[in-house]
């Protein structure tokens, strides 16, 4: 396990959050905004990609894929258009951080986009904002207008802001692409991968809002500085959304090496409810749940993977002992059944079935075979689907039952 790094005293992503007019160009410039872009203009595109690789920046939307590596998948010397697409379809339960960035620091995203577009050779970028995010959409659109007026945009990079219409699956990068193309948000078969053939048939890089917001700092202050903030395999800080039974729910910036214990007790002020921690979802609803004795784990991608869960979108949901885990599973299973896009058979059919079973269990009509049926069905479906949505559903299906089986069995015994 990586040694937890000291919690940085410097706010990087959150440095503008407290200002009332933080989302304006004026405010952004006052705290060094667009300095990274000025430096990037003097760099070759390949050098920018290389810097991002060396920074160990990893995707902060959910998958944790090394960002520089992803950028390098774009075919060299490609003749036609290359698209940069920003995934602002934040939807993972427990996650609020992209909303904060869009509302409070939209220019950070624009500056990051300018640099990323230069690195990959894109002249047209799309920002896909979930349909329900109206204030963030307005704030970001206003910032885009300011950026055009100030001459940052429209001189080599154009930005199209696109609103979604309500579907969690549009947070999956190829589901997002399908939606951007004016279709249902059905993820696409891979191969081909988006960097080769993505939006409108062209090479496309899809990155999360927060991931791109990190890029100006990497260029401005150097990849080594960024890398040193984190662990050996993941650099930088990230924004943790903490909610549930905690004293101070909110967004907290910390090194990726912060531990879950530190987040809960030092940043978010400790556990409410009956004050005794029972379980934590560490990376958004799709991440396997951790018990109270499993929170001494660093919150980086590899640290959480080694702990049998995932960093995901860093949505931390805290549960005290008064929370019913079977009821929590019912709520989460209902979510996956509602959001399954329906394209492929395993996910379409089993998310609904498993939800029906969890309802029955919570209502006191569970059968003794139900738990093993859910586990077996979830295991059988894993790895058979078009996209990772189902793998995300399986995280809670399996971990809640395996780690809290007695609680489920108690409900069934009394059925």
């Amino acid at each position: 396990m990586n040694q937890p790094a000291a919690v940085p005293t410097e706010a990087i992503l959150t440095r503008n959050f407290g200002r009332a007019d933080s989302y304006t160009l004026t405010a952004y410039r006052e705290t060094g905004g667009y300095a990274g872009w000025a430096k990037a203009l003097a760099l070759e595109p390949a050098a920018i990609t290389d810097a991002v690789k060396r920074s160990n920046l990893r995707g902060l939307g959910g998958a944790g894929f090394p960002t520089g590596t992803k950028w390098s998948f774009v075919p060299k010397g490609h003749a036609g258009p290359i698209y940069l697409v920003i995934n602002a379809d934040e939807g993972e339960p427990g996650t609020v951080k992209d909303r904060y960035l869009l509302e409070r620091d939209p220019h950070a995203l624009i500056e990051g986009m300018l640099i990323a577009a230069r690195a990959i050779g894109s002249r047209l970028a799309f920002v896909y904002i979930r349909g329900e995010y109206i204030t963030p959409w307005r704030r970001f659109s206003a910032a885009v207008r300011e950026a055009y007026d100030a001459g940052y945009l429209g001189r080599g990079l154009d930005v199209v802001v696109h609103r979604g219409a309500g579907a969690y699956i549009c947070g999956e990068e190829t589901g997002l692409i399908s939606s951007l193309e004016g279709r249902k948000g059905w993820p696409k078969l891979k191969p081909p991968f988006p960097a080769i053939k993505g939006a409108f048939g062209a090479p496309t890089i899809v990155n999360n809002v927060e991931t791109i917001c990190q890029v100006p700092h990497i260029v401005n202050r150097g990849p080594e500085w960024f890398a040193a903030l984190g662990t050996k395999t993941q650099g930088g800080t990230r924004l943790y959304s903490v909610s549930g039974r905690v004293r101070r729910p909110g967004v907290y910036e910390a090194s990726v090496a912060v531990t879950l214990r530190q987040l809960i007790y030092e940043h978010a002020g400790g556990v409410t409810g009956n004050g005794r921690l029972k379980a934590v979802v560490p990376g958004g609803a799709s991440a396997a749940i951790l018990r109270a004795d499993e929170i001494d784990v660093t919150m980086d991608v590899d640290g959480l993977r080694n702990a049998g869960t995932m960093a995901g979108s860093a949505g931390v949901i805290v549960m005290d002992e008064t929370v019913s885990i079977p009821d929590a599973l019912r709520v989460v299973a209902r979510f996956y059944a509602h959001e399954s896009c329906g394209q492929c058979t395993p996910c379409r059919e089993t998310t609904g079935w498993i939800h029906r079973m969890t309802e029955r269990i919570v209502e006191g009509r569970g059968h003794k075979e139900d738990l093993d049926t859910i586990l077996d069905v979830a295991r059988r479906g894993t790895g058979t689907t078009i996209c990772a949505f189902y793998d995300g559903a399986v995280g809670p299906y399996i971990s809640y039952i395996e780690k809290f089986r007695a609680e489920f069995e108690a409900l069934i015994r009394h059925a």
Binding site: G91, V96, V160, A165, G182, R183, G244, A285
Partner: protein, 160 residues
């Protein structure tokens, strides 16, 4: 101007063409244009679907696919205000079921329904990603969080 006989004004049509021009394939503008149509006509009726399909050179079936797939397009008339209560995990832990029950009683409708006077449509929705202010809801364009029955009542009183 009505959802049964939809017709955009020339300014609205110009906006449609502008949106279509932003995308490498004009079809990319379908979701934004459906949002515009919902604003203009109140909801997306079958006639609106056919009308929009015509603006894109699409058969109506693919437009119907899009309208039925996404949750934000209303296929029936909705209330003047839409109140969407999140019932996902963090809000559930923070008491969303009680908030929803309170709204059921105050409004006299089930989630999915609209009050008889056409004032409010009540929905139970999945994560709106405002978990730090759970329990929360979206009323029209804005989020309201840290709800209590009292703050919900005050909110409802302001809706005309």
């Amino acid at each position: 101007m009505s959802p049964r006989h939809p017709q955009f004004t020339s300014e609205q049509l110009a906006e449609v063409r502008r949106l279509q021009g932003l995308y490498p394939d004009a079809r990319g503008a379908l979701l934004p244009v459906l949002h515009l149509a919902q604003e203009v006509f109140g909801y997306i009726s079958e006639e609106v679907e056919e009308y929009v399909a015509g603006l894109f050179g699409l058969a109506p079936a693919p437009v119907h696919e899009v309208v039925t797939f996404y949750t934000m397009y209303f296929r029936e008339p909705k209330g003047r205000h839409v109140v969407s209560v999140c019932h996902n995990l963090s809000c559930h832990l923070a008491g969303a079921p009680a908030i929803l029950d309170h709204l059921r009683r105050r409004l006299g409708i089930e989630p999915g329904g609209t009050t008889d006077d056409g004032r409010v449509t009540l929905l139970a929705v999945e994560c709106l990603c405002a978990c730090e202010m759970a329990p929360m809801l979206q009323v029209d364009d804005r989020y309201e969080g840290n709800l209590t029955p009292e703050t919900v009542d005050r909110l409802l009183d302001q809706l005309r």
